[in-house]
């Protein structure tokens, strides 16, 4: 019994252990910013990642409120991996920051919230997890305490998320009113498709949409990314997005399965909007963080296309894509992180002639961007095409055609940066940057991931076997 409990909640428990040890250290020690300390925390996260892989069993706790399966644990492991990469990349930033431990505490508690959300079998736990993952992020967005942009970002984030959670709660309450239960299994049985229920569902959907920054609920995204520290922006765009997407797929496919006609319409509309608007805004960005924000919005649109398929392939493709997306996006953010934390240059024009001074970084950036754009042989190619293939299974080729054409548009702005780095001259290019071990490890992980994940058909097959679909 007890060890089943441990096995099922091992991810959460592990995180709690790290959190508390951090708290204690914060209280106990006074030189929390030494290199030793950073090494330690990253090692802890590595351990955390590795622990995630052992004893994968599926079951449920607290009579169904907390449930776990191999798939969920896989997703948690993916998140852990991303977390590790981010903490490695954050090194140049945190090393110079007064409150490094708080940074990690907030980060980890947010991840903890995501884990709860992932394993939630009950709307209450889901809600708690959601808030737990959101609120610390708002604080993190504000982590450059004396930068006005940063605090503006934090403000925008907390305000909009609170506003959206009000809608989410409204949806939950109505769902409760119409089904008489808050646990997913119960709700599934009670769905009738009555208008009020549809309304409730749409409100839930909106809550998700906000977190996934689906157009038209995306407005906070770009501002927050721009204002927040790069590592936080990376976390927002990769980890929290993937977590929500995982939950989204499970909720749609297993809980609201019978409402497929409703959410297909929703997905169709929002996917078109998300891809289109995301691209149109990404086209005209000059700040690279903001650019990445909008590009990630567009990426979400593709995820929606994949989800709309509703088959086992769809679920597998979405998870597979998110894994690849973590590598690709973190690769790009990693470079941006290093550049901005060392030279504090964040405009795309600053990257002109980048190749002359930093060939390695430029290649990493290029490969990551190619992967985001879906250009072979990078993994992004496979990820994106599988999403489209999954989406096409509904026979709605209009959506697919739209997405495919937008892939070309996105190609333009990704290549634009490559062009800036390789082809355009610049009298004051970014100087030669030398950076510490941690970020380079992170970047290497990303590149290896980008180059290998795509070709590993077995990985896809593995995910495919775990996933259920409708």
């Amino acid at each position: 019994m007890i060890n089943e409990f441990i096995y099922l909640m091992k991810h959460e428990l592990m995180l709690c252990v790290i959190l508390f040890s951090l708290l204690i250290m914060k209280i106990a020690s006074n030189d929390e910013n030494s290199g030793r300390w950073h090494l330690m925390i990253n090692l802890l996260l590595l351990v955390n990642l590795l622990v995630g892989f052992c004893y994968n069993i599926s079951g449920e706790l607290f009579n169904g409120m907390f449930q776990s399966s191999e798939l969920i644990q896989l997703e948690k492991n993916i998140l852990n991996l991303g977390l590790l990469i981010i903490s490695l990349q954050a090194h140049p930033y945190t090393r110079t920051h007064r409150h490094a431990p708080e940074f990690y505490i907030l980060l980890l508690s947010s991840v903890l919230g995501m884990f709860f959300m992932l394993s939630s079998g009950h709307l209450l736990l889901f809600y708690i997890g959601l808030e737990l993952s959101t609120i610390p992020l708002a604080a993190l967005a504000n982590f450059n305490l004396n930068k006005s942009a940063s605090s503006e970002a934090g403000m925008k984030m907390i305000m909009s998320s609170a506003f959206s959670s009000a809608f989410l709660l409204m949806g939950i309450s109505l769902m409760y009113g119409t089904t008489g239960s808050l646990s997913f299994s119960e709700i599934t049985l009670q769905l009738t498709g009555a208008p009020l229920q549809v309304f409730a569902f749409v409100m839930l959907f909106v809550g998700f949409a906000f977190k996934l920054s689906i157009v038209p609920f995306h407005f906070w995204t770009a501002d927050v990314y721009e204002g927040a520290p790069v590592s936080v922006a990376a976390f927002l765009s990769v980890i929290s997005k993937s977590a929500i997407a995982f939950v989204f797929v499970t909720v749609l496919y297993s809980v609201f399965e019978s409402m497929v006609n409703v959410w297909y319409i929703l997905l169709f509309i929002t996917a078109v909007l998300t891809i289109g608007i995301g691209n149109l805004f990404a086209l005209r960005q000059e700040n690279i963080k903001r650019f990445l924000a909008f590009s990630s919005i567009a990426q979400v649109g593709f995820i929606l296309v994949g989800i709309s398929g509703g088959t086992q392939e769809s679920e597998a493709s979405v998870i597979y894509f998110l894994l690849i997306y973590i590598f690709s996006n973190l690769g790009a953010f990693g470079v941006v992180n290093i550049v901005s934390s060392i030279t504090s240059k964040e405009s795309i024009n600053d990257y002109k002639g980048f190749y002359k001074t930093n060939p390695a970084l430029s290649w990493i950036m290029t490969i990551s961007l190619f992967s985001l754009a879906g250009i072979p042989p990078t993994a992004g190619f496979f990820g994106k095409l599988f999403l489209l293939t999954a989406g096409a299974s509904t026979g709605n080729y209009v959506l697919i055609a739209f997405a495919a054409i937008n892939m070309v548009v996105s190609m333009y702005y990704y290549l634009r940066i490559v062009k800036a780095m390789f082809m355009e001259a610049n009298e004051h290019p970014i100087q030669k940057i030398s950076f510490s071990l941690f970020p380079s490890i992170a970047l290497i992980i990303c590149i290896v991931g980008i180059l290998l994940t795509g070709f590993s058909g077995n990985l896809y097959t593995y995910i495919y076997e775990l996933s259920i679909g409708i």
Partner: protein, 500 residues
């Protein structure tokens, strides 16, 4: 014989290149790699011919399939027939020549040769894959290196052209992908599973309305690669801004991906739709041929001249395909090969001239025959080849297309054919104008007197390509024997709804 070698060899070469920095080492490795590829392809040819001679009439030889993304019905399936084999040979020739002409690429040589080799890997992969997804994968692999090659090492409005090329080709592949998805979902291998397997799809009867929807997508998609009017505008800019080797690859290989795809994927897999759309294809092809030729007349830049003439010549490929009969399709395949070699040679010659005189403007050139006899001779020869002189490959290909086209008795087809024939006159006009001004005539610029003739590497590149051209031109029968059985094979499918 394992076809994977064709893909592995370039990739290994590319990886090796990354380990070196000096131009001397890098180009040596690239050269070895390219030579090795050529050797492989020739070996492949011999084994292929033996197999066929031994009476192996399987549609695809050296068939081999490796599980990849089995849930999605994607496998790494490879195999070749005469058509793809000839394409592989073409690529091998062009790659080797390309490496040779870019022998003195000082600027960022490592990256240059790396991308060049990667590009060839894409081409080989495309020609050997029998799985539509893999095919598409390699098709796209062949795009982005071009973007980098043009954008970094190009000349003129290089960024613009590079971006334009990349975007248009990507748009093309987007269309292709939609077409492939249509095919994919119209297959069924039990319990709702679909497959990308080429042969399986070719055997499955695809409903006509599906074909009518997806044939245009696939055909236009590949057509953009193959300079289908009016989606050809990347060709002039791309070719003219690209460095010599890249232009050679573009014209010699990339545009062939398009033609090959139009034939193999679009037309072969969706024959009924092909018959429905044939008139439109022929219309566009004819426009491309005649209009491309006339547009060429007005060009003043040697590379633009050749680029536009490529539009015109690739029109013959699409014309042959659109005619949907055995002779014409055989002609189209021949034209692909011929055009590949010839245009590559032409671009090589132009590149050599440009390297020396630093201009490509016809007006600023003149009397080069006196200064650089070899290069000028090469220039004239490739010009003569492109105006379809007997003894060179162009003649064989074009005549085959014409003979095939003439077999349609409808007035529309006849007019299309006559117009296409008329283009050979226009071709003669612009080729002779270019040659007459820049190669013959009085010396335009006294400084040119000091210029030297071709170096050994340029000579060998030219001779390599020239040998291909001449061999096909003198003895077309072997090429015909190589491809015609497989064209027959294609016709079994394509002709299955042929309305005489």
């Amino acid at each position: 014989m394992n076809l994977h070698l064709l893909v592995i060899a370039p990739i290994v070469t590319a990886v090796f290149i990354l380990f070196f920095k000096e131009l001397r080492q890098v180009r040596m490795i690239a050269l070895l790699g390219a030579g090795f590829q050529l050797i492989i392809s020739v070996l492949l040819l011999s084994t292929f011919c033996n197999e066929r001679a031994a009476g192996n009439t399987a549609p695809m030889l050296f068939y081999n399939s490796v599980e990849w993304f089995s849930p999605l019905g994607i496998a790494f399936t490879t195999g070749i027939d005469g058509i793809s084999l000839s394409m592989i040979l073409l690529s091998a020739f062009v790659v080797l020549a390309g490496v040779l002409v870019s022998w003195k690429m000082e600027k960022m040589s490592r990256e240059f040769f790396f991308l060049l080799t990667l590009l060839s890997a894409g081409a080989y992969g495309f020609f050997i894959s029998l799985d539509l997804f893999t095919l598409f994968f390699f098709l796209e692999i062949a795009v982005i290196p071009k973007f980098m090659l043009i954008g970094i090492w190009g000349s003129g409005r290089k960024e613009y052209s590079a971006m334009k090329l990349a975007l248009m080709l990507m748009a093309g592949s987007a269309f292709v992908f939609l077409g492939l998805l249509g095919l994919y979902f119209s297959t069924n291998v039990g319990n709702g599973q679909h497959t990308f397997d080429f042969i399986a799809i070719s055997r499955s009867a695809i409903p006509l309305d599906t074909q009518l929807l997806f044939f245009p997508l696939a055909f236009i998609g590949f057509g953009i690669f193959g300079a289908l009017f009016p989606f050809h505008t990347w060709v002039p800019d791309g070719h003219s801004s690209a460095p010599t080797a890249a232009s050679m690859f573009l014209a010699g290989i990339s545009m062939k991906l398009g033609g090959y795809g139009c034939l193999r994927v679009a037309t072969y897999l969706m024959p009924e739709a092909a018959h429905v759309y044939a008139p439109y294809i022929i219309l566009l092809a004819t426009i491309a041929i005649i209009y491309g030729a006339f547009a060429t007349m007005m060009q003043t830049d040697l590379k633009y001249i050749n680029a536009y003439s490529s539009v015109s010549h690739c029109g013959f490929v699409l014309l042959g395909i659109g005619m949907l009969n055995e002779t014409a399709i055989a002609g189209a395949v021949m034209q692909m090969i011929s055009h590949g070699l010839m245009t590559a040679l032409f671009f090589a010659a132009i590149g050599m001239i440009y390297e020396r005189t630093h201009t490509r403007m016809v007006a600023q050139l003149g009397g080069l025959l006196k200064v650089m006899p070899f290069i000028s001779t090469i220039f004239i020869i490739s010009g003569l080849c492109s105006l379809g002189l007997p003894g060179f490959s162009g003649f064989v290909a074009e005549m085959t297309v014409f003979m095939g086209s003439w077999q349609h008795t409808e007035m529309f087809y006849r007019i299309a054919t006559i117009l296409s024939c008329a283009s050979i006159v226009v071709t003669a006009v612009y080729i002779l104008r270019a040659a007459g001004k820049s190669i013959m005539g009085p010396l335009a610029n006294e400084q040119h007197l000091s210029l030297g003739d071709a170096t050994w590497n340029e000579k060998s590149a030219a001779v390599l390509l020239l040998s291909g051209i001449v061999v096909i031109g003198i003895a077309p029968f072997w090429l015909n024997e190589l491809i015609s059985p497989d064209v027959n094979g294609l016709m079994v499918n394509i002709g299955r709804t042929f309305i005489p």
